[in-house]
């Protein structure tokens, strides 16, 4: 019954989405408002329908309906309740359904928020979002259906497995529930981690969130309304999508650090990179769109950026789910590769063609020309070029070169860390430098002298910090250069905020906190952006520290033996094996004492978890970690030996000292905070404040124009 409910809900969603496309486009063409409204209502209906389908699958997981192939595949009777819920997105079919639910949720909210505001754009917006949804529902319904059930048919032979069907075949009988329960596969051990509860939903929210700016941009192109309406409508949506994508990437890094057991958080894996590509283009768009808002420039460029951000989202989904690349993160190879490839290529081609068509019509002509090389818009363009260069370099290393090599020579190749470090590090350095310089420039034009004067204070602060870093042990030129460019960007963000506060204090005689709050109230996007820059700076410090100064060693220790690694004393105290947990996991735990300068710091318990019931990957190495802001002592057990009947008489450990690694996570939190501030609604300006502002603006002294609306 649960499967039927899910199937019917999916089928109705498919029909409603198709009808929404038809009604919206025809309604707009024939100027029939009732048809447009009907299309909008059909689009709104897709969200509750998909919620019903998702709840049906969740109910099947929670009530252990193993006849449903998906439930059998991702859970077993030992799976705890918690992981039954996360199993909803634990494999291909469920995650496609989950993806569709999130996308319809975004479309639902966007339709409600913008429905009455943008009458010209909204019918096309409905059509575009529903077209994307129709594609995902189609592959869910017809190729990767999470409600397929096992049925025994009369023609089934003894040596073939029991197949799964979407519809009940004639004369079919259900397999024995007990047999299904006893053979159920269970969730992949790598997915049994706290990070997996929120990492995929965040990443999916980031991915599907970009459908909103994309659909608005396409609506503007289709309708011919290329005013700033679509930019205004998408501003907050782009930030929200970017926020979720950033969170997804950070949580993915944290999951890799905790679960994959290699002491790092970013391995330049193709699937990681596939999620990073839309983030890079989306970040370029976030900057570039400001030029269009402020100066009415780069209209065509912004169209391309928003198209390619969404195109990268679909490409990433295609790459992850089609078996195009092999990765620990990818889903199993499936038949959806070809349809996804066609969808990706056609949506990109159609969007680009539409943009070029409007461009040839002259509807994407810029309102202003660039007035100076040192203007903020020029520096933002440079920043965009670097972001795109990074995107291309990462795309080439992850997909371009391996695919081309296989096509041209039949040789499989992998481009690894050496390639990515050589190509991306210089580009990231340029980005940090631009991140520092751009906020000091002005829209329109800035003189070199003025820019030079603004730069002095952040440069002096950077120099002082570098001397400090040098004294603390960062002596390599590479590290000092890296810290220099990263810190410069951070100091500029702080300095610009400080200058703003100082200017406001002089104008209004306010205290520091009041002036700061008032400044944030005036333009949350600007100051939230500075906090994001600070977050990126902190992440940069963490990345440099944990990459260039990581210490790694592997040793075999006898029980009671101590080794010294980078000033830490690690003593192996023995092994606890055969620890069985409630979910059937068998843990082997090493006991390691950690001390520094004779002071006991922690008892570490690196372990291996063995899942006897799991098929495929059935074990997991979990590090014992002592974490401080200074560094992480990260210990893995990679083997043990039994001597004279003593199990674990020796243990082999991989030990990593990861300096400043926690700054990566703290920087991520700062980045999230900054994005939240940036995307918060602006303060409402009262009539009295507006009057005050008008009076102030009329005065010749510009300082008085910085009145707070609060």
């Amino acid at each position: 019954m649960i499967a039927e409910i899910g199937l019917i809900a999916l089928g109705l969603t498919f029909a409603a989405a198709i009808y929404a496309i038809f009604a919206s486009v025809v309604g707009q063409r024939l100027h029939q408002d009732r048809l447009i409204d009907s299309g909008r209502n059909a689009a709104l209906l897709t969200f509750p329908l998909l919620l019903i389908a998702a709840f049906a699958l969740l109910a099947a997981l929670l009530t252990q309906q193993y006849q449903i192939a998906y439930v059998w595949q991702v859970s077993d009777p030992n799976t705890p309740m918690f992981y039954r819920i996360t199993a909803l997105w634990g494999s291909q079919q469920g995650s496609l359904l989950f993806w569709s639910v999130l996308m319809s949720a975004f479309a639902f909210v966007a339709l409600l928020v913008n429905g009455r505001k943008n009458r010209t754009l909204m019918p096309y917006f409905t059509a575009y979002t529903m077209a994307v949804l129709v594609f995902f529902i189609a592959i869910t319904l017809f190729m990767e259906n999470p409600f397929d059930r096992f049925w025994i048919t009369p023609d089934l032979t003894a040596d073939s497995g029991v197949p799964a069907y979407t519809l009940i075949p004639p004369d079919a009988t259900a397999p024995s529930p007990a047999l299904l329960a006893s053979t159920a596969r269970g969730l992949n051990p790598l997915l049994r981690h706290f990070g997996m509860i929120i990492h995929p939903p965040m990443l999916y929210l980031g991915f599907v969130g970009f459908v909103i700016p994309f659909a608005f941009a396409m609506s503007a192109l289709a309708s011919g309304d290329l005013s700033s309406a679509w930019i205004k409508a998408t501003r907050r949506w782009t930030l929200i999508a970017w926020l979720f994508l950033s969170l997804g990437l950070l949580l993915g890094g944290r999951w890799a650090y905790d679960v994959l057991g290699w002491g790092g958080y970013w391995g330049w894996d193709p699937v990681e990179n596939a999620a990073f590509l839309p983030w890079l283009i989306g970040t370029a768009f976030l900057h570039s769109v400001m030029i269009q808002e402020k100066r009415g420039m780069l209209k065509t460029w912004n169209m391309f950026l928003v198209i390619f951000t969404f195109s990268a989202v679909i490409f990433g989904t295609f790459a992850t789910r089609s078996g195009l690349v092999e990765s620990v993160h990818s889903f199993a190879q499936s038949e959806i590769g070809m349809p996804m490839f066609f969808f990706w290529s056609s949506i990109t081609l159609v969007s680009v063609t539409l943009t070029l068509w409007r461009w040839r019509q002259g509807k994407l002509r810029d309102d202003h020309h660039f007035a100076g090389i040192l203007s903020r818009e020029s520096l933002f363009v440079l920043n965009n070029v670097v972001f795109i260069a990074l995107t291309l370099a990462i795309f080439w290393g992850s997909f371009g070169a391996p695919i081309l090599s296989e096509l041209l020579t039949g040789t499989e190749i992998t481009l690894g860390v050496d390639y990515f470090n050589a190509v991306t590090v210089p580009l990231f350095a340029v980005l940090y430098i631009l991140m520092g310089i751009a906020p000091l420039s002005a829209w329109g034009a800035t003189s070199a002298i003025r820019m030079g004067r603004s730069i002095i204070t952040p440069l002096v602060l950077t120099g002082a910090a570098l001397i400090g870093a040098f004294l603390l042990g960062a002596s390599s030129p590479g590290a000092l250069f890296g810290y220099g460019v990263v810190l410069f960007a951070g100091f500029v963000a702080l300095y610009e905020t400080y200058r703003g506060v100082l200017a406001r204090r002089r104008a209004h005689h306010e205290n520091f906190a009041t002036a700061l709050l008032a400044l944030f109230g005036r333009n949350r996007r600007r100051y939230g952006g500075f906090i994001v820059h600070l977050g990126i700076t902190v992440i940069g410090i963490g990345v440099i520290g944990s990459t260039l100064f990581q210490v790694e060693t592997q040793r075999t220790l006898l029980v009671g033996e101590t080794i010294d690694v980078d000033g830490y004393a690690l003593t192996y105290n023995g092994l606890l094996s055969g620890q069985v947990t409630g979910d059937g996991r068998i843990m082997t735990i090493a006991q390691v004492s950690l001390a520094r300068d004779g002071q006991a710091l922690a008892e570490l318990r690196p372990r291996t978890d063995f899942y006897p019931e799991a098929r495929g990957i059935n074990s997991q190495i979990i590090a014992g970690v002592h974490s401080t802001l200074e560094n992480d002592v990260y210990v893995l057990i990679s083997g043990f030996e039994t001597i004279n009947g003593v199990e674990g008489a020796t243990g082999t450990f991989k030990i990593y000292i990861n300096p400043l690694i926690n700054l990566v996570w703290w920087g991520g939190l700062i980045l999230i905070l900054g994005t939240l501030i940036s995307s918060a609604p602006a303060e409402t300006v009262t009539a009295a404040d507006r009057s005050r502002l008008r009076t102030a603006r009329a005065r010749p002294q510009m300082g008085s124009a910085m009145e707070s609306p609060a």
């Binding site: 057991g261 391995g267 990765s327 990818s330 020309h369 660039f370 007035a371 100076g372 070029v385 260069a389 291309l392 370099a393 080439w396 290393g397 371009g400 070169a401 090599s405 040789t411 499989e412 190749i413 992998t414 481009l415 690894g416 860390v417 050496d418 390639y419 190509v423 002005a442 329109g444 034009a445 003189s447 003025r450 603004s454 204070t457 001397i467 040098f470 004294l471 603390l472 002596s475 200058r499 703003g500 200017a503 002089r506 005036r522 996007r525 600007r526 100064f549 210490v551 790694e552 592997q554 075999t556 080794i563 690694v565 980078d566 190495i621 082999t652 300096p659 510009m702 300082g703 910085m706």
Partner: protein, 180 residues
């Protein structure tokens, strides 16, 4: 001019600062390095895990998806690491070992293809693309520069107002930035 005068009235104490930097640099060179590298675990000519991992880090596992051989814990990978240890013990260089793995399992096990054509294709392409982008970018900026010289805004920008960090010019710029 007022701000310039202020700067000249309070000159930066250059020599003491320079002296302080030199002293700090000298102290730093005497200082024991704060970052201690992992001790070499090689004992009596036996190849250490660290030596093996240094080579294994340069190779991808031939069977696992995108996993470095040094991090891989499968039985096959443990055997390959033992093989690396044996090869190091007989005096083979890390590059010789990498080459032998590439001969057996193909270029996919190396970080960058060892085949000269594929290596060139992989490494030169992004730089060639960057060069093309740089040329296009430079031409565009030069064109903008020519336009800028004719623009009245650029002429304004050349006009130096003040060195004061919160002068009227800064306030004007800030005000423009604050407009949503």
């Amino acid at each position: 001019m007022n701000s310039l005068r202020r700067i000249s009235l309070r000159p930066i104490p250059f020599r003491p600062v320079l002296a302080l930097i030199v002293i700090l640099f000298f102290l730093r060179t005497l200082n024991v390095p704060m970052r201690v590298c992992a001790q070499d675990a090689a004992i009596d000519g036996v190849i250490s895990y660290d030596e093996v991992n240094a080579v294994a880090k340069e190779l991808y596992c031939p069977v696992c998806p995108n996993e470095l051989l040094s991090d891989c814990q499968t039985q096959a990978c443990i055997q390959w690491k033992t093989e690396i240890s044996d090869q190091l013990a007989v005096g083979q260089s890390p590059q010789q070992i990498i080459d032998s793995f590439v001969r057996r399992y193909g270029d996919r096990v190396a970080h960058v293809p060892q085949d000269p054509f594929l290596r060139a294709l992989s490494l030169v392409t992004p730089f060639a693309v960057a060069l093309v982008a740089l040329i296009i970018g430079a031409r565009t900026f030069l064109r903008w520069g020519r336009l800028a010289r004719r623009s009245p805004i650029a002429a304004d920008a050349k006009h130096d107002i003040s060195a004061n960090p919160i002068d009227n010019d800064y306030r004007a710029r800030l005000e423009r930035d604050l407009e949503n």
